[in-house]
């Protein structure tokens, strides 16, 4: 078994040897380049792509608002009742090109709301909010963030906040099981689609004795939850030191032989089991 020092030496040696295989062009004078063929080709492709997109969008708009389409009336200027009920009684069924809106994910009417400011206000009003993600775009124009709440030494929770309207509205409060790890304030909460539903999930990190375990927060199953590793819903802490790298979750395992400080680490890659809504190591 080789150690890190030997790996590092081999890396330096290999890279120097590889670099010597390069054959830079001999001319050392700068000639201001015309647009190279590759750059020209890319610009042409970009232009054609943009033209195609504009044409398709225009055709779709014409089709949607064609005269034979029943009128769609949305009473956004005269709201009455909660936001998800603001569509008027004249609202017709959506045309085939529009996506039906699930009842739990209503499009937001405010276009000027600042989710970052809303999150800042929430954090200022809640001194027990000790860790937080940045606002991220979610389905149906939602802007959400997760916040780690530590109201007392025996209670930890993660709040999922909707920031779309300019104020922080809780979507879910997820109580963390014991042990009551402290939130790792210095480690950013990472986001990525870990469950394959094309929506962001969150990795919240904590401080344990010698590593920083984490939990995955997701709504892939339809409700916000801490994703467990098996049928036990309290088996949510993933260790050691999980991180999201290139869109997937990985962590390390330490054989702690003879001690954890001197032990051998192994990389573990985690995958989401959609059938059982669990994270499984591979």
């Amino acid at each position: 078994m080789i150690d890190d020092t030997e790996v590092q030496q081999r890396l330096r040696h290999s890279m120097q040897a590889i670099a010597q295989q390069a054959t830079p062009p001999t001319s050392s004078c700068w000639h201001e380049p015309l647009a190279s063929p590759v750059r020209r080709d890319r610009r042409l492709v970009a232009f054609v792509s943009a033209a195609v997109v504009v044409t398709v969008v225009a055709a779709a708009l014409v089709w949607v608002i064609r005269p034979s389409t029943p009128p769609v009336t949305v009473s956004e200027t005269t709201p009455s009742g909660p936001p998800h009920l603001r569509r008027s009684a004249h609202h017709k069924l959506p045309s085939p090109l529009t996506t039906p809106v699930p009842p739990t994910t209503t499009p937001r009417l405010s276009t000027t709301a600042d989710p970052t400011a809303a999150l800042a206000r929430f954090l200022a009003d809640h001194p027990d909010a000790v860790a937080h993600s940045t606002p991220v775009a979610y389905a149906n124009n939602l802007k959400i963030a997760v916040v780690g709440m530590a109201p007392d030494p025996n209670h930890r929770a993660i709040d999922v906040l909707d920031l779309s309207t300019g104020t922080a509205s809780p979507l879910a409060t997820l109580t963390l099981p014991k042990p009551n790890y402290a939130f790792a304030r210095g480690i950013p909460i990472q986001t990525a689609d870990l469950t394959g539903d094309r929506l962001p999930d969150f990795l919240v990190r904590f401080l344990a004795a010698d590593n920083a375990p984490g939990v995955v927060v997701s709504a892939d199953s339809g409700t916000w939850k801490l994703v467990p590793q098996n049928a036990d819903p309290t088996a949510v802490y993933i260790g050691r030191d999980p991180t999201i790298s290139n869109g997937h979750l990985d962590s390390t395992r330490n054989d702690c032989m003879p001690t954890c400080a001197q032990g051998h680490s192994t990389l573990i890659v985690w995958h989401y089991d959609r059938q059982h809504n669990t994270m499984i190591p591979q």
Partner: protein, 155 residues
């Protein structure tokens, strides 16, 4: 503005930066991409961008290094995504080097970039974070994961 008369804040002319950095950057780009053609194109593109921004760039050498690195990474990712032809790992003929390099080539993009910038370009972790536009902690974790994986593959 003509390059001949342009001087950076550090006092170097564009042509001086080009003359002193071109070969080193070509080698760096070659290590990242494994191709002389791509390396030459990326270095030329980076200097073209530097030329356009010469008046506003305070550290031309750092700027062009960062640009070359990121252009190469983007190009490698693009070729992978489009299943375009990626250069085969360079074969030196020394089994130890070839084995190490093949293992490096299989690493995820960011981990490979961190190793190249650390062990070929001799950058510090904070400098790597600057080049890759990420946090130092991200560099550390990518570095750690890369070493763990290499140690496992090379054992």
């Amino acid at each position: 503005m003509r390059a001949e008369s342009a001087l950076s804040e550090a006092g170097s002319s564009f042509e001086e930066v080009y003359a002193t950095r071109r070969v080193g950057l070509h080698r760096l780009a070659f290590v990242i991409t494994g191709s002389d053609e791509i390396a030459e194109e990326m270095v030329q593109e980076a200097f073209a961008r530097l030329h356009e921004r010469w008046r506003t760039v305070s550290n031309p050498a750092a700027y062009v290094s960062r640009t070359v690195t990121n252009l190469c990474r983007t190009e490698v990712r693009r070729r992978r995504r489009e299943r375009d032809s990626l250069p085969r790992p360079v074969i030196v003929g020394n089994p130890e080097i070839d084995e190490t390099w093949a293992a490096v080539s299989r690493l995820p993009d960011r981990q490979r970039a961190v190793l190249i910038l650390r062990y070929y370009a001799d950058l510090s972790e904070s400098e790597i974070a600057d080049v890759l536009d990420c946090r130092v902690g991200t560099v550390k974790s990518a570095h750690h994961r890369a070493l763990v994986r290499l140690r496992r593959e090379l054992s």
